[in-house]
C-alpha cells in the first residue's frame, strides 16, 4: 500500500505465545496484534511456524503458554467452531472444498452457522426455512457477484481450475460474514494473472466489506503490496513486526531469508 493507514481498535492480540509438539518448539514467545480493519501478513521461511500461528488463532491448536485476546476477551482454550461463531473464518493452504458439489452449494455451506431453523423444517423445506433459505441464497449470490464467478455457479468445484477453486474457497469463507478472515497462502501455485485477481479480491474484501484480514504468504511482492503491517517468523521466533518498508530493511529478516555468511 502506498499510503499508511491508521487504525485505532485492536481486534486480536497475541501475547507471549509458546507452542510445542513434544520436543519441537513451533512457536516461542510470539507477541503481536491485529488491528480492526487492517490487512496483516505473517511471513517467514518454510517451517517458520506461520500455519501453526494461524491454527492457534482459530483455536485448532492450543498454546502451552500465553493468551489470545479476541475482541477484548482473553482465552486460552477454544474450539474451532467457537472461533467460527465469534466471527473468524479461514481458507486453507491445500484447498478444502467439497469437490463434487457446485460452487453455489460450496459457498452455501459457509452459511451453516447462520441457519436458524431446525432439522425437521429443513428436511421438508417447510415453514420458516423456506424464507430463510431464500435469504441465504441471496447472500450467496451477492458473494458470487462480488467474486465474479457467475459463470461457474453450477459447475462442480472439482472441474474448476486451481485459481478458481481458491476463489470459491474465499467465497465460502466470506459467506460466514467474518470479522476476521484468515487466509493460508491464498496465492500459492497461481499464475501471475490469477495472483492479480486474488489480490484485487483481497483488497476489495477489506475495503468494501470492512473485513479484517490476516494472511500467510510466500510471495514477497504480493505481501509487501497488500498488507498494512507484517510479522516475520523464523524457527518459531518472532524476528520483526512493522510496516512492509520497515520489515524489508530489517537485517535479521534479510539474514533469515538470504542466509548469513559465517
Amino acid at each position: 500500500m502506498s499510503t499508511t493507514r491508521n487504525f485505532s481498535d485492536v481486534l486480536l492480540k497475541v501475547d507471549n505465545v509458546h507452542l510445542s509438539f513434544g520436543g519441537v518448539k513451533a512457536l516461542t514467545n510470539v507477541n503481536f496484534n491485529i488491528m480492526k480493519g487492517e490487512i496483516r501478513a505473517i511471513i517467514g521461511p518454510n517451517g517458520a511456524g506461520k500455519s501453526s500461528m494461524l491454527n492457534v488463532i482459530n483455536g485448532f491448536y492450543h498454546p502451552q503458554q500465553g493468551t489470545i485476546t479476541y475482541k477484548g476477551v482473553a482465552r486460552s482454550q477454544m474450539k474451532p467452531h467457537q472461533a467460527a461463531v465469534q466471527g473468524i473464518a479461514r481458507t486453507f493452504q491445500n484447498i478444502a472444498l467439497f469437490k463434487g458439489m457446485s460452487t453455489l452449494d460450496n459457498i452455501m455451506t459457509g452459511r451453516l452457522l447462520k441457519m436458524k431453523s431446525g432439522l425437521l423444517s429443513q428436511a421438508f423445506y417447510w415453514g420458516k426455512y423456506e424464507k430463510e433459505e431464500t435469504q441465504h441464497r441471496h447472500k450467496v449470490e451477492e458473494i458470487i457477484d462480488f467474486l465474479e464467478i457467475q459463470s461457474i455457479r453450477k459447475t462442480p468445484v472439482g472441474r474448476l481450475p486451481y485459481g478458481l477453486q481458491k476463489r470459491v474457497e474465499l467465497g465460502r469463507a466470506l459467506a460466514a460474514e467474518p470479522e476476521l478472515l484468515l487466509l493460508d497462502e491464498p496465492m500459492a501455485g497461481m499464475n501471475v494473472e490469477e495472483k492479480e485477481d486474488m489480490s484485487r479480491f483481497i483488497i476489495e474484501t477489506n475495503d468494501q466489506l470492512g473485513t479484517t484480514i490476516a494472511l500467510i504468504e510466500h510471495d514477497m511482492g504480493v505481501v509487501m503490496d497488500l498488507s498494512d503491517r507484517v510479522v516475520v517468523l523464523d524457527y518459531g521466533r518472532q524476528l520483526a513486526d512493522g510496516t512492509p518498508d520497515a520489515v524489508r530493511g530489517n537485517q535479521a529478516v534479510i539474514d533469515a531469508y538470504l542466509g548469513v555468511t559465517e
Binding site: R137, H138, E141, E142, I144, D145, E148, Q150, S151, R153, K154, E196, E204, D207, Q208
Partner: protein, 651 residues
C-alpha cells in the same frame, strides 16, 4: 397500421410504447442469479429521469455522449435518454485500450461518458487528461467507486435524481422535448472498426435506422413475442439495429446476460427466437460440440454420427419445405428426440426462428450443420454505412456461398472494377468531421461504394469474393483474392487465422495461426506434449496437419480456372496469435493486412527467398497494458501444388 408505424424517432416510439405496451416486458437482466424484468412503462420512467438529469446537467441537442460497457439495461437506457433530449449517443467498443478509446472520445467531441464500472471510469479519467472537452463521467456499477471523490464523476442514480428534481418543476419538459425531434435528425454515431486507418464516425439519422429496422421487421415478421439476447458489442451496428431499433419498432423484449462469461448459460435460459452471431461464434460452438462428442461414450458417438448424417440428408429439405417422404420424416422425428432436440437445447437454440450471421464468410459445413438441425440460419451482407442491411437471404433460398438478394428498398449495382455499390433509405448521412471520406464513399446520386468486390450469380444472388482493394494481381497479371483463399483455410477447425500474400508476386504464400483449442485436443490425443501456443505451433506434426489442409485447399482451387493459380506454395505458422491488442486485427477480428505486412516484413521476405528458417522478435502487449517481447525461429514449409488435371483426379 398501428400508431408506432407512423412515428419517425425512437423517443416518440418509446413514448408510445410506454402507453400501448406499458405492461409488456421491454428489458431483462440477470442479477444475483435472478432474471429481473422491466416493462416498457418502467423502462420509460428510468429513461425519463436519466434524460432530464442529462438535460439539467447541460447536455444540449447535438451534444455527443460516449457509452462504454458490456450490454447492460442502463447503458441502453442512457442511449435512449440521450436521444430523447436531442443528443447523439456514441457507443464504443468496451475492450478497447485507453489509447484507442482516446481517439474516439477526442474525435467525437463527446462531453459526457456513461460507463459500466470502475475499470472504465479509470480508463476515461486517463483519457480525460488529453480530452478536456469531456466534462462528466457517469457510472452504472457503484462497486469500488467509494473512494473517487471527484465532482465530475457521478452515479447513474444521482443523475436520475437531478432529473426528477427538474421534472418536479417542469412536468411537461420531457414530452415537449421529444416532440421536437425529427426523422432527419442524427440519431446515433457508430465508429467503424477501422480495417484501414483511423476509425470513422458514421452518422445515422432516425430515418436511416427507423426505416431499415421497420423493413427488417416486416421481412421476417418480427412481433412483440420475440426473445433476444443482447451480447454483441453495443458499438456494433448490428447490435444497435437488432437489440435497440427493432426492439422499439416490434416491441420485443431484449435480455442482457449476467456477464460476458455466462452468455452460453443465459442463451439456454432465455431461449431466443431471434438470434444473431458472427460466423466465429457458430464455429466455436460447433468446435466445442465436436470436442465434447469425441470424449463421449462409443455408443453415444455412434448415435450422434448416425443421426447427424440423417439430418444432413433430410433436415435442410424440411426447413425449406421441399418434398420429404413419410419414412424420412419419422426418422428425423426420432433423431429430434434423441439428438437434435437436446443438442439445440444445449446450444440455447431450441426456439430460434431466425438466426442471422454476417461479417465474414461462414464455412459450408458449419452452415449446413446448423441448418440440418432445423435452425434457420441465414446470411446477411451489410455495413455500418447502410444501417446494416444490404442483402439478406430469403427463407427458401439460403446458400452458404452467397449472401442473398437485395434487402427491401435496397438497390445494388456492380461497378466495372467489380466493386459492389448500393443505395437505400438506410444510407448514412455523413462521416463525422470527415468530408473527404464521405465524398469518396458516397457519390452525388447516393450510391455507396462498399469496398467489396463481388458479382451476381445466375440465380440473382450476390457473392462477395474479397475487399475490392485487397483484390490484387500476381506478377503475371492474374487475379489474386487473398480473403477468398484465407476463408477456405479458416474453414478447417484447426486453422484459426490465415493471411495470404501474392500481390505483385509470382506465387501465393501464407501465414497461419492454429486454433489452440482444436489443435490442443488433437495434440493430446497424439501424445504430443506442449506448454504454450508458441511451442505447439512449432511442432513438426502440427506443420504436417496444416500442410495437409493447405494441400486440400490447393486441390479445391483447381476447380475454378480463374483461381487455380492462387495455390499456396509455401507457408509458416506464426509464433503468436494475431491479436487486436497488438493492432494486428480489428476489434471485429478482421485482419489488418498493411500492418501485418510491415510488422512481419522479414517473414514475408523469407517466404519468397527460399529459406527454411527465419528468426523473428515481436513486441506484444498484455491485457493490462504492459508490453513484452517474444522471439522465435520459425520454420517455413513448402507445399505440393496441383495442375488442373491432377486436381480433378485427386478430388
Amino acid at each position: 397500421m398501428t400508431a408506432i408505424d407512423s412515428l419517425d424517432t425512437f423517443p416518440k416510439i418509446l413514448l408510445e410504447r410506454s402507453k400501448s405496451s406499458a405492461k409488456k416486458p421491454a428489458m431483462r437482466e440477470k442479477d444475483l442469479g435472478i432474471w429481473q424484468t422491466w416493462t416498457w412503462q418502467e423502462a420509460f420512467q428510468e429513461i425519463k429521469a436519466f434524460a432530464c438529469g442529462l438535460s439539467a446537467m447541460g447536455l444540449s441537442p447535438g451534444d455527443k455522449l460516449i457509452i462504454v460497457g458490456d450490454n447492460r439495461p442502463r447503458l441502453y437506457w442512457a442511449m435512449s435518454a440521450t436521444q430523447c433530449v436531442g443528443g447523439i449517443p456514441v457507443p464504443t467498443y468496451q475492450d478497447a485500450v485507453a489509447q484507442e478509446m482516446a481517439y474516439v472520445v477526442d474525435h467525437s467531441d463527446a462531453i459526457v461518458a456513461v460507463v459500466e464500472d470502475q475499470e472504465q471510469v479509470d480508463k476515461l479519467l486517463e483519457i480525460q487528461q488529453s480530452c478536456p472537452q469531456l466534462k462528466t463521467i457517469i457510472y452504472d456499477d457503484a462497486r469500488g467507486m467509494d473512494d473517487y471523490d471527484l465532482p465530475h464523476v457521478m452515479s447513474f442514480e444521482s443523475v436520475q435524481e437531478k432529473g426528477r428534481e427538474l421534472l418536479s418543476q417542469n412536468a411537461d419538459f420531457f414530452e415537449t422535448t421529444i416532440d421536437q425531434g425529427k426523422g432527419a435528425d442524427e440519431a446515433i454515431m457508430l465508429y467503424t472498426s477501422g480495417t484501414t486507418g483511423k476509425p470513422k464516425g458514421v452518422m445515422l439519422t432516425y430515418d436511416n435506422m427507423v426505416i431499415t429496422a421497420r423493413n427488417g421487421c416486416k421481412l421476417e415478421n418480427l412481433t412483440e413475442n420475440e426473445e433476444t439476447l443482447a451480447y454483441l458489442p453495443m458499438a456494433w451496428v448490428g447490435d444497435h439495429l437488432f437489440s435497440y431499433a427493432q426492439s422499439y419498432i416490434a416491441g420485443f423484449c431484449v435480455s442482457c446476460p449476467e456477464s460476458p462469461a455466462t452468455v452460453p448459460h443465459d442463451l439456454r435460459e432465455i431461449g431466443p427466437t431471434y438470434y444473431f452471431a458472427p460466423p466465429r461464434v457458430f464455429e466455436n460452438l460447433l468446435t466445442s460440440v465436436t470436442i465434447r462428442m469425441q470424449d463421449a461414450a462409443p455408443v453415444k458417438q455412434k448415435v450422434f454420427k448416425y443421426f447427424m448424417d440423417v439430418a444432413k440428408n433430410i433436415g435442410v429439405r424440411i426447413l425449406e419445405d421441399k418434398p420429404v417422404s413419410l419414412k424420412e420424416r419419422l426418422l428425423y422425428k426420432l433423431g429430434d428426440i434423441l439428438v437434435y432436440g437436446p443438442l439445440k437445447n444445449t446450444l440455447g437454440m431450441s426456439r430460434v426462428r431466425i438466426a442471422y450471421t454476417a461479417g465474414e464468410a461462414i464455412g459450408p459445413e458449419i452452415f449446413e450443420f446448423y441448418r440440418s438441425l432445423g435452425i434457420n440460419i441465414k446470411q446477411i451482407y451489410g455495413q455500418t454505412e447502410a444501417s446494416i442491411f444490404v442483402t439478406v437471404q430469403p427463407d427458401d433460398q439460403v446458400r452458404s456461398d452467397t449472401v442473398g438478394i437485395a434487402a427491401p428498398d435496397v438497390e445494388i449495382t456492380i461497378a466495372d472494377n467489380g466493386e459492389v455499390l448500393y443505395r437505400s433509405p438506410g444510407v448514412f448521412k455523413s462521416y463525422y468531421k470527415n468530408e473527404e471520406s464521405t465524398k469518396s464513399t458516397k457519390n452525388d446520386e447516393g450510391w455507396v461504394y462498399t469496398g467489396d468486390a463481388g458479382f451476381f450469380t445466375d440465380d440473382g444472388h450476390l457473392r462477395i469474393i474479397d475487399r475490392a482493394k485487397d483484390v490484387g494481381k500476381f506478377s503475371n497479371g492474374k487475379l489474386f483474392a487473398p480473403k477468398y483463399i484465407e476463408n477456405k483455410l479458416k474453414f478447417f477447425p484447426h486453422i484459426r487465422e490465415a493471411v495470404c500474400f501474392g500481390n505483385s508476386r509470382d506465387t501465393c504464400t501464407a501465414f497461419i495461426n492454429i486454433d489452440m483449442e482444436a489443435v490442443g485436443v488433437w495434440a493430446e490425443k497424439q501424445n504430443i506434449p506442449y506448454a504454450s501456443y508458441q511451442e505447439l505451433a512449432a511442432k513438426e506434426q502440427v506443420y504436417q496437419l496444416v500442410q495437409d489442409s493447405i494441400e486440400q485447399v490447393n486441390r479445391d482451387l483447381t476447380d475454378d480456372s480463374m483461381l487455380s493459380h492462387s495455390q499456396i506454395f509455401r507457408f509458416l505458422i506464426l509464433h503468436k496469435e494475431l491479436d487486436a491488442d497488438d493492432g494486428e486485427l480489428t476489434r471485429t477480428r478482421k485482419v489488418r493486412r498493411p500492418f501485418i505486412a510491415e510488422r512481419y516484413g522479414v517473414l514475408i521476405d523469407a517466404l519468397y527467398d527460399g529459406k527454411s528458417q527465419c528468426f523473428i522478435e515481436t513486441e506484444v502487449s498484455f491485457e493490462d497494458g504492459r508490453t513484452g517481447a517474444i522471439s522465435a525461429d520459425l520454420h517455413i514449409q513448402d507445399v505440393k501444388t496441383y495442375s488442373l488435371e491432377e486436381g480433378k483426379t485427386a478430388a
